[in-house]
Symmetry: C2
Subunit: 187 residues, 2 copies
């Protein structure tokens, strides 16, 4: 009996995600979301409940995309070298959005207050833990280096990822390649 929905929820979330990615959570208003998603406020709240709801779905959408890269990394047999490749792809992926706006996940981690919304924090924490585990798994394929533990190396790589994301918003691709080279010079 109902009237058919004139928009696809996955499609409009995709657009919302792009907007959040470009502007960050705080700066993006519901009115901007209306414009970008092409549906009006009523539909936004009917489908996602709140601005936070839209944001959470946007993060999930972003993660789904990033998972393609992470799964490829997990399945690779090359050890550290494949993480280097992952970083390059990660940067390419970040630019795929528009101009260098870094990684939505790390941007959000930097943006939200330490004592902020629990749900968002949880999603971020889970994601970072998952990437760290993948890094550790990949690192285990190489022979041990210099008595450094896998955990230490994985930690360093996670922090480097934050650095890459942040730096890519300000520096050009050649400088970023220089950065990647140096990260892996003695991991």
């Amino acid at each position: 009996m109902p009237r058919t929905k004139q928009y696809n929820e996955q499609e409009v979330i995709e657009k919302a995600m792009q907007l959040f990615w470009r502007n960050g959570y705080q700066t993006t208003s519901v009115q901007m979301l209306e414009k970008e998603m092409g549906i009006n406020k009523f539909s936004i709240y009917a489908s996602f409940g709140s601005k936070d709801g839209v944001f959470l779905e946007s993060i999930k959408c972003y993660e789904k995309r990033l998972n393609t890269l992470i799964n490829r990394l997990k399945d690779s047999g090359n050890g550290v070298e494949s993480i280097k490749e992952y970083f390059r792809e990660f940067l390419l992926f970040s630019k795929g959005n528009k101009f260098g706006k870094g990684c939505l996940i790390t941007n959000t981690a930097n943006e939200i207050d330490q004592d902020a919304d629990t749900k968002i924090k949880m999603v971020l924490g889970d994601f970072i833990d998952r990437v760290r585990t993948v890094f550790a798994t990949v690192l285990a394929k190489d022979k041990n280096k210099d008595g450094k533990t896998i955990e230490q190396q994985a930690d360093f790589l996670i922090i480097s990822m934050f650095g890459l994301s942040s730096a890519s918003r300000v520096f050009n691709p050649e400088q970023m390649e220089n950065y990647i080279e140096n990260i892996f010079r003695n991991i």
Copy 2:
């Protein structure tokens, strides 16, 4: 003839700077500034003209503080080792604020839109250029490594600074020390 001002502009800017540092530019409202600075909106606009005016003065105030570290680095004769020490002090300085909120300058560089307020962008650009120059000067004191140019090394260090700032907002001091060690393992 006039009534004496009941607040010290330098003192209230110091407080404003702390607030911007903690919350970022966008999130900080004039009402929050009123509360933190301990003066009311009228006085804020009388002294600094606008929210942007307060922010610009806050950046200058922050730079003045950071300059202590940078000047010490510039005067040091230890080459790369003194930059490492600078990074440690830089992180300590960042935490001096409250909890890890990174560096106000790099936070701002990440926050503002690429096509945003020219004045703020200029101040940021000038600061980063100055630090890069200091890095290059210090690097020149060491013997050349691996055929990498001073510029490449300085670039890498600037990018690392962004990484440090971003990562310190999310990771604990031990992890950060691990990060610093790795940065300098083969600069």
